[in-house]
């Protein structure tokens, strides 16, 4: 009875403190929103390449076919310009990345090879290669429409019925980063703050057991984390991703609570050991952010070939990410699916809880 009463008192007090100084809660929302901006920019740079397109007039029907092929090459945002100089100007002003000139005499079955000239602002190899790789697709599409077509074809078999937009895909992980960094910050600052201001004595001298203090702090952290997560979820939905069904929303809630308890507990453990707000705050970022970025926010673990993905498989962040991707998009980005992801998350949560109870108990024990 003492324990439950004490936990409720600590929970209420921590919520009052969070209302008075909501830094951790604000950071748990601001950080993912910053990442949303970052990801939107990634999505933009991974999206259509601005291309100034010059087609001298009059143009043969073949030239129109080439423009269509370029438009369908999954790459270009074509901006027709009236002169070659206008195309060069756009390139010079940094408004276009490539200036393409389609020859006017691309007549089907013409004699010699025509030339498709393009000037490329090759600021870096990656952006330039996107252009270089898109043009063969356009040329093959164009040739396929000519008499004789192509001697060889290809049949694409997609695993999933519809494509998910890049932003909608990477936005899902914003929830993970909010829970991860927000949990570490809230848990760590909450208990380190008690040591720093000396109010730990108020808790240690109260007739309540140590587990009640941990439970109260976790409870308050979960409430704050859920508020942050709800706000971030709104941003994720605005970015074009949403849980497919009510049961998927339930999965999102379950991942959020499990992961929150895990990261809050780890934060509490760190706070109990370090006892300094100025130490746990940078720690939350220094540990949380790299862990987040190696845990597959941009694609499945291992596709990038990074050795870091081996490390990421040890920690719960990758599993939280995978469970959220499943809830939002209906596919598993981690081999093993539900049978692997949920038990790992549950085990991590239990282990983190034990770590927080142990480290607070150790710090609170008579010495």
């Amino acid at each position: 009875m003492n324990g439950l009463r004490g936990a409720a008192a600590v929970l209420r007090n921590d919520l009052a403190l969070a209302r008075a100084e909501p830094l951790a809660t604000i950071l748990a929302v601001v950080l993912p929103l910053n990442f949303l901006v970052l990801f939107m920019l990634f999505a933009l740079s991974g999206g259509r390449v601005p291309a100034a397109l010059y087609v001298p007039r009059p143009a043969a029907p073949g030239s129109a076919q080439m423009v269509t092929a370029l438009r369908d090459a999954l790459t270009f945002d074509l901006r027709p310009v009236p002169t070659r100089a206008a195309a060069t100007d756009q390139l010079g002003r940094g408004e276009a990345v490539v200036a393409i000139t389609v020859p006017p005499d691309l007549a089907p079955g013409g004699d010699g090879p025509a030339v498709l000239a393009f000037t490329l602002d090759n600021e870096n190899a990656d952006f330039a290669d996107d252009v270089r790789r898109a043009l063969p697709l356009a040329l093959l599409s164009f040739t396929a429409q000519q008499p004789g077509g192509l001697p060889v074809g290809w049949r694409e078999v997609d695993t999933y019925r519809s494509d998910v937009g890049f932003l909608a895909y990477i936005a899902v992980s914003l929830l993970t980063v909010s829970i991860l960094v927000g949990g570490l910050l809230t848990g760590g600052r909450s208990v380190a703050g008690e040591w720093e201001r000396g109010t730990i004595k108020e808790l240690l001298l109260a007739p309540v057991p140590p587990w009640a203090v941990v439970a109260g702090k976790l409870g308050a952290g979960v409430v704050q984390g859920l508020v942050s997560a709800a706000l971030v979820l709104g941003a994720v939905i605005a970015a074009g991703a949403h849980p497919a069904s009510w049961s998927d929303l339930g999965s999102v809630a379950a991942v959020t609570v499990l992961a929150l308890v895990a990261f809050l507990s780890l934060g509490l453990a760190a706070g109990s050991l370090m006892r300094r707000v100025n130490s746990v705050t940078p720690l939350a970022f220094a540990v949380g952010l790299p862990l987040f970025f190696i845990s597959g926010p941009f694609g499945p673990l291992g596709w990038s070939g990074a050795a870091a993905s081996v490390v990421a498989r040890v920690f719960p962040v990758a599993y939280a990410n995978a469970a959220l991707q499943h809830a939002f998009h209906g596919y598993w980005t981690l081999h093993g699916g539900a049978a692997l992801v949920w038990p790992v998350l549950a085990a991590w949560t239990a282990a983190a809880l034990a770590a927080s109870a142990w480290s607070y108990g150790r710090a609170a024990a008579p010495h």
Binding site: N13, A16, A20, E202, L205, P207
Partner: protein, 324 residues
């Protein structure tokens, strides 16, 4: 709960070691119900460790502590309900209001919800903070914070209140107000244990004092008894010129003189017996003192004989070396 032990606090053979370093070495003292008991000692003498052991925050290496007959380690919850603690650093939630700080304490200590508003209001009134109950503590002065910390410690109606340096860093008015609270606690039947570096405060408040040094209790008794037992009469004189070194040497050889010092023309001579021997009356040493001064060729412009101060008792027992 009404404790029925004979003593409010009973400390026997208390020892605390951190590795090879002994902080407390066999401490024995008892505090009676309704008594104000002062723990004095230089920095590092073991006062705070003693308080931590009494509240159960630390575990003794040897010996026992009983708070109203309860073991603060094994019967922690019961013992803590009887204890009210005002730590040296006020340790309040400065981002929160005074009321919220008190409400948290009330919740932690299980004061029934129906009684909380009245208890909080009463404590705010006691601390003269009724008007500021809804203000953030961060806007309070040092004295206000100290009063609020005392109000918080009293909120759950503890039987034994310990205050660690209760008037450290507060102004004269606040100090007086805190003294009044402490005396009011005693009047209300509570037992008070306090540590202080202000010996004037200990003299004014405490029924009994214990002086700790290097983890041992070096003296215990009422302030008056301590002064009488260990103190000296002090003769202070102002000469017509700087006191010559030969005069100081002569004075130190006189019977009953324990210390002679000079700052320019100001001369100070402590007269009395050492610890354990019978004290000598100060007046008896006046005549040889004056003879020695006159023999040195100096004239006396001003002369006074006064009772020893507790400071001098303290320094006599613990020495003048800095302990930081």
């Amino acid at each position: 709960m009404t404790p029925d032990a004979a003593q409010a606090l009973d400390v026997r053979g208390l020892e605390k070691r951190f590795g090879a370093f002994a902080v407390l070495r066999g401490l024995d003292f008892a505090v009676g119900r309704g008594e104000i008991y002062g723990l004095l000692g230089p920095n590092g003498s073991g006062k705070t460790t003693t308080l931590n052991l009494i509240s159960g925050l630390a575990e003794p290496s040897a010996g026992t502590v009983r708070v109203f007959g309860l073991d603060p380690r094994r019967q922690a919850a019961e013992a803590r309900r009887l204890l009210g603690v005002v730590p040296q650093e006020t340790a309040l939630y400065e981002e929160l209001t005074a009321e919220r700080n008190l409400a948290f304490h009330a919740e932690l200590f299980g004061i029934p919800p129906g009684q909380r508003p009245a208890r909080i209001a009463a404590m705010l009134e006691l601390a003269q903070l009724t008007e500021r109950g809804r203000s953030r503590v961060s806007t309070f002065s040092g004295g206000m914070k100290r009063r609020l910390a005392i109000a918080r410690a009293l909120l759950h109606d503890p039987q034994l209140v310990y205050l660690d340096e209760p008037t450290l860093g507060v102004d004269v008015q606040a100090r007086r107000a805190i003294w009044d609270y402490i005396l009011a606690m005693k009047a209300g039947g509570r037992t008070v244990l306090l540590t202080t570096n202000y010996l004037e405060e200990a003299s004014a408040l405490c029924d009994r004092l214990a002086i700790l040094d290097r983890g041992r209790l070096v003296a215990e008794g009422t302030p008056a008894a301590l002064k009488a037992r260990y103190g000296e009469s002090v003769v202070e004189a102002e000469l017509d010129r700087d006191a010559p070194a030969t005069l100081l040497q002569t004075l130190r050889t006189l019977p009953g003189v324990r210390e002679a010092s000079a700052e320019g023309p100001r001369l100070s001579v402590c007269i009395g017996a050492g610890p354990g021997s019978e004290p000598a009356p100060g007046g008896a040493a006046l005549a040889p003192f004056l003879q020695a001064v006159l023999a040195s060729g100096c004239a006396v412009r001003h002369l006074s004989l006064r009772e020893p101060a507790l400071d001098e008792v303290f320094l006599a027992l613990t020495g003048r070396g800095l302990r930081d």
